[in-house]
Symmetry: C2
Subunit: 367 residues, 2 copies
């Protein structure tokens, strides 16, 4: 039985579903990709059981067939095939698939599709339309703030909330918060917590080209996202997200307006003498129209100065350079507003107007 398809299509589909192939697993079959040929398509599926990615490409299919091929090897081979036309010659009895392109021919041992985990979604008929670009942006601007420590449970996820024409994503770890929101042309409601790592994987698969819109839907405690020729199904967290609004609400009396890139570059240089050992400690001395940023180690001392426009008292405060760099790098605005209260209260970064984004970072106690 033969299937004909295009090398570039197959290559892209392999790279997409490849994001779901586990890097380490005790189950051999999960290192494979399920191929299902039917009607005029070839459907590829990979899963690590927390995320499942399906990708469909057009194909000339002689007869229906399904089989599993090793993901890594196949992806390497297809990326190097000489011609755009690829023929898969499937021998289901001998469990072999021969991949032919030009004068290159690769016979791979295949595995039974029956061994591949099945998953069925019940019902679900209320998909919400959103722009691919919006969901990518939300993930990229917040997911880095989620906790990477599995013991933090729900904090390793990002909260996606949609209501009243607004879509918002929030990530919280014990020392920082990131929120970002966009207006959407849609009054549907969604509230779901997606593992941050999987959200980041999804943002990498969503192509900049192709369709403008995608659909998103919650079915059986899973998020199902459909875009271009892909369907991505991601497990979600049960349980409640933490009440981050309570923390964000406590603003202080010190307001600092500053050029974002200038501040970012100064913190970046100062961080060269900070280290993970001391929580990436840098010291801010905020006085009149200047932030003096210093860091200290056995090797020396770095001193940076950034001009600001300040309302409120002077302040000396210890900060985590990495957390500030992460937040400042996620912002596009030329100027930002930093709100502070005292040495032990959080530092809150916002736009000059409104609250399209809020980045909160806890200070480090200094003597």
């Amino acid at each position: 039985m033969k299937v004909f398809c295009n090398r570039s299509d197959l290559n892209r589909a392999l790279n997409n579903v490849g994001h779901a192939v586990p890097t380490r697993t005790t189950s051999n079959i999960l290192e494979g990709i399920l191929f299902e040929a039917y009607r005029e398509v070839l459907k590829l599926t990979a899963t690590d059981t927390t995320i499942t990615i399906e990708s469909v490409i057009p194909a000339d299919v002689e007869d229906s067939a399904s089989f599993v091929l090793p993901a890594k090897l196949l992806t390497s081979i297809v990326s190097k095939l000489p011609e755009e036309e690829v023929m898969l010659d499937i021998n289901e009895e001998q469990m072999k698939v021969n991949l032919v392109s030009g004068t290159s021919s690769t016979e791979l041992v295949s595995f039974s599709a029956d061994e591949f985990p099945k998953f069925m979604l019940s019902g679900g008929h209320n998909p919400v339309n959103i722009r691919k670009e919006d969901i990518k942006k939300l993930i990229r601007k917040t997911a880095f703030s989620a906790s990477t420590d599995d013991f933090n449970g729900v904090l390793t996820g990002v909260l996606l909330e949609m209501a009243d024409g607004n879509m918002k994503m929030v990530a919280v770890d014990p020392f920082r918060i990131a929120t970002f929101n966009v207006d959407v042309d849609n009054s549907s409601s969604i509230s779901v917590i997606i593992p941050a790592k999987l959200a980041t994987d999804v943002s990498r698969i969503i192509a900049d080209d192709g369709e403008e819109y995608m659909t998103i839907e919650i079915i059986d405690n899973k998020v199902v996202m459909i875009f271009d020729n892909n369907q991505v199904t991601v497990n979600t967290f049960n349980g409640k997200f933490i009440d981050y609004n309570r923390i964000l609400g406590r603003e202080g009396q010190i307001n600092i307006r500053v050029k974002r890139e200038e501040l970012l570059k100064s913190i970046d240089r100062a961080s060269l003498l900070s280290s993970v050992k001391n929580n990436n400690l840098i010291k801010f001395t905020i006085k009149d129209s200047n932030i003096n940023i210093t860091s200290l180690s056995e090797e020396g001392r770095i001193d940076e100065n950034v001009e600001i426009i300040k309302e409120g008292d002077d302040l000396v405060i210890g900060m985590n350079a990495k957390y500030l760099k992460d937040a400042l790098s996620a912002i596009d605005d030329e100027e930002i507003m930093i709100n502070m209260k005292d040495q032990v209260s959080p530092c809150i970064i916002k736009p000059l107007k409104g609250d399209r984004y809020i980045y909160l970072v806890l200070p480090i106690r200094i003597n």
Copy 2:
């Protein structure tokens, strides 16, 4: 005492001499870069005792001074400084150097220049002029073939020979040979064996821009190369190189003319099923006007076919895919000539005409 210089100059010099800073060392001082300020220059020196790199940049120097600063940290800092003008404020008594650029100021603890290893070259007044491009090319096209096993002594080096208007480089390991030569506008003679790893380092420092020519000279068992504002001194091997011409001379009766890139791509695909475990074994079946290339593993079998023009008998021979890929990737020609004798004799790759390059690869015994 103050020294003023340009950030880009300093940055480039740090990156150049950085190639000589050892990645692992028990001597702290070698993790540093020696700075010597005098007259109107700042000279940077780094060494791991096998290679020494000096780089000179223009500077406004108030007074002579020398000191050592930590290479890695300093390189990171200079790459991120905000302004092009950099001031080094040197406090020799307190052993501190303050690096100021715009509103950024970094005070580094310095070490005494006296602790830095000195090296003096005696005499040497016969530098040979060669094109930078030529020496880069020779290194890039041969050094990968040198042995990486220290037990192979002189074979971990590349032989550089210059005589009668020709410059040649040769690298040999127990399973392959690479030679490349260029015509030079120079009748001087040189014969020296340079550690291949150091030769590769040198090829990375030689910039494509700047002066067209460099000088090379053998002094006290060292090679001294001077180009642009750099002087690189490299230890050489004592002893005799092996008599590679004796091996290259034994050509066989089979001559194959083939398109280089087509062959390279086929070998590259076939190598996906070969592995280090089996010496990257691929099988060539040379018959009439075709090379059939196969590789085999538990996962399957790859079959490739490449058109050739052949003189001589058919042949089945086992080859190391990696060695062939290395050689074919180093060649620019569209078509090449492969000479073979039998299953146990070397495969010799040459241009269609002449012997500007020769790549020899030993076969792998197959059943």
